[in-house]
Symmetry: C2
Subunit: 345 residues, 2 copies
Amino acid sequence: MANDSIPLSGRPAPTLASVAQRVGVSVNTVSRALRAPQTVRPELKRRIDAALEELNYVPNRLAGGLAGTRSNVVGVVVTSLFYSEFAAVVDTLQTQLLQHDLQVMLGNSRYDLQEEQRLVRALLSWRPAAMAIIGVDHHPGATDLLRASGVPTVEMWDICGEPIDSAVGMDHEAIGRAQAEHLIACGYRHLAFVGSVRAADTRARKRAGGAAAVIEAAGLSPLAVETSPEGGNPSLGERLLAALLAEHPEIDGIICNSDAVAYGVLRGLEAAGRRVPEDCGVIAFGDPEASAYMRPALTTVRPSRETIGRVSAETILARIAGEAPRRVSVDWSLQHRQSTRPARA
Amino acid sequence: MANDSIPLSGRPAPTLASVAQRVGVSVNTVSRALRAPQTVRPELKRRIDAALEELNYVPNRLAGGLAGTRSNVVGVVVTSLFYSEFAAVVDTLQTQLLQHDLQVMLGNSRYDLQEEQRLVRALLSWRPAAMAIIGVDHHPGATDLLRASGVPTVEMWDICGEPIDSAVGMDHEAIGRAQAEHLIACGYRHLAFVGSVRAADTRARKRAGGAAAVIEAAGLSPLAVETSPEGGNPSLGERLLAALLAEHPEIDGIICNSDAVAYGVLRGLEAAGRRVPEDCGVIAFGDPEASAYMRPALTTVRPSRETIGRVSAETILARIAGEAPRRVSVDWSLQHRQSTRPARA
DNA sequence: TGACAGAAAGTGAGCGCTAACGCAACGCTC
DNA sequence: GAGCGTTGCGTTAGCGCTCACTTTCTGTCA
């Protein structure tokens, strides 16, 4: 909270000036040798490189960024990282950007809109070349800051809504519809939506909304909803399932907001004596590696995490290069496994 | 790879000078109003705050860092992020540090020592207040850079070896010993080590080494080893298990390098007609949420990821505050579940 | 031989901020 | 009312680098 005192470390690091002095050239020449080597005589370049090496020179990006007209920072804001699907997105994104000499600065808002705004501010204070952020529904202040900054911004994971600039993600309403349609096609009739839904998790709401719309159109009983603002883990799944069954014993098809929650739901159903998929179908969203190895193997929707990361990186590079904003819809697929019955012909 | 051209965005951002001009005070006064509010008249402070708000001022950390004697960046180097245990460590670390106004800059070396050195260089170029890095076995160049920089450095996850500065982690040899001892206590006699072992993953080697030592001391047949440099996932587990059983059909106890690999091993054993835990025991390392929900539930070693993240953050803060380097051994626990037999009395 | 490109290196200003110092205005003491 | 510390703000000097501009050097050709 406080602006703690942070003294810089030990002895002063070598500067361009100290390298220049050692070689007997001007600071500018050393700078050029680093930034535009072809403008410096090969022999001089060699001597400069030697001095750089000898002094163990590490450039000062603060000075470089302040003086120059370019920045090589990309600010990234995620809503969670802990064993989350976003970890894979950030991983891919970071790796791709680093190949273009762009450094990722990471922030985790923990599904807190206030924190999100703070983070956007903090990251913008580094004058980044671009920003990437999970979702399209932000704290209005954060949106304003991003717009006002003029920094190219890529919103990831979700493309439903008015993007600030570019968006790379999925249509979560469509995913929700597909989940409900799948359960209905398998013959389930009394559906529920179960899981952790944080205040700022609008994607979950969009999926639930999509499912509810399909159910209404099919004339079935309305979607039962059992959610909690707690983090999504298997134990929450067990608890939510118990509450759900107590209130709606007729439920025979469950959409879980995440695979982790589904693991608990599967066990809860077993404990309640309901067979999966015969008595009750379960479909989720996420598909980490473990899901295919569960018993029963979990039917779920798999987002293309690497694709989102890669395309986001491409979009960032394109925007930095001056190209127009993009809006990219990224594929996802329904993995039909053992936790739902075969679809009826 | 190339140093692409990265033009900065749109209209120039407001500076302290523009705020100062609007209020009719000097630049320094505005700076003071931000950094040391008590040194400025309350009424003036209010007017400055109003102007700050109006112009939507975002401080320029590049300039601040260059001019000042403190930095608020912490460089963090991990070896992987994708659904990895390090995600949780980074998550906790980042959250804790942010409360002290420290920004995390993230790098992912993907278990590549060369890349690790590049990352350390890149992060040091931001003149960070501290560095955090996974492991204690680095590229010698990286170690030199860190030492020479004088920046407080916390090595995380592993404490076996000579730390550069501070270390917060586990004794992986001890974990390997515990894994082997557990299998032996359960009555398994022909043990193997299976998993993905990347070139730079010395922690895995230490665990395997610890297990081998216990086995030798117990006078059992030597530890069979079946590893691959590929990333650790269930499908690799299935393949490695097949290779292992082909070569060593007598195996009855398997130490997996990660839980993800163990999922594949469990299924492979089932396919090979070996009952778990009756015919073959399986123990792993990691314990993501899914492991307790596998069938059979996976016996595994659970590191205290949040503790490592939290203690690392504390150590960083302490080092920044001038306290001495620390070396903290963090707890882990063996989760005895269904994939190993009950231990013999 | 002199003029003249073009390449190679140097000069000077300034990016936006912080920090040490300076100095007026005020209240307090004796 | 002279002396003195305090408060509250301005002045000045950089931090280490980049960039536009200028100067010097090198080689070519009339």
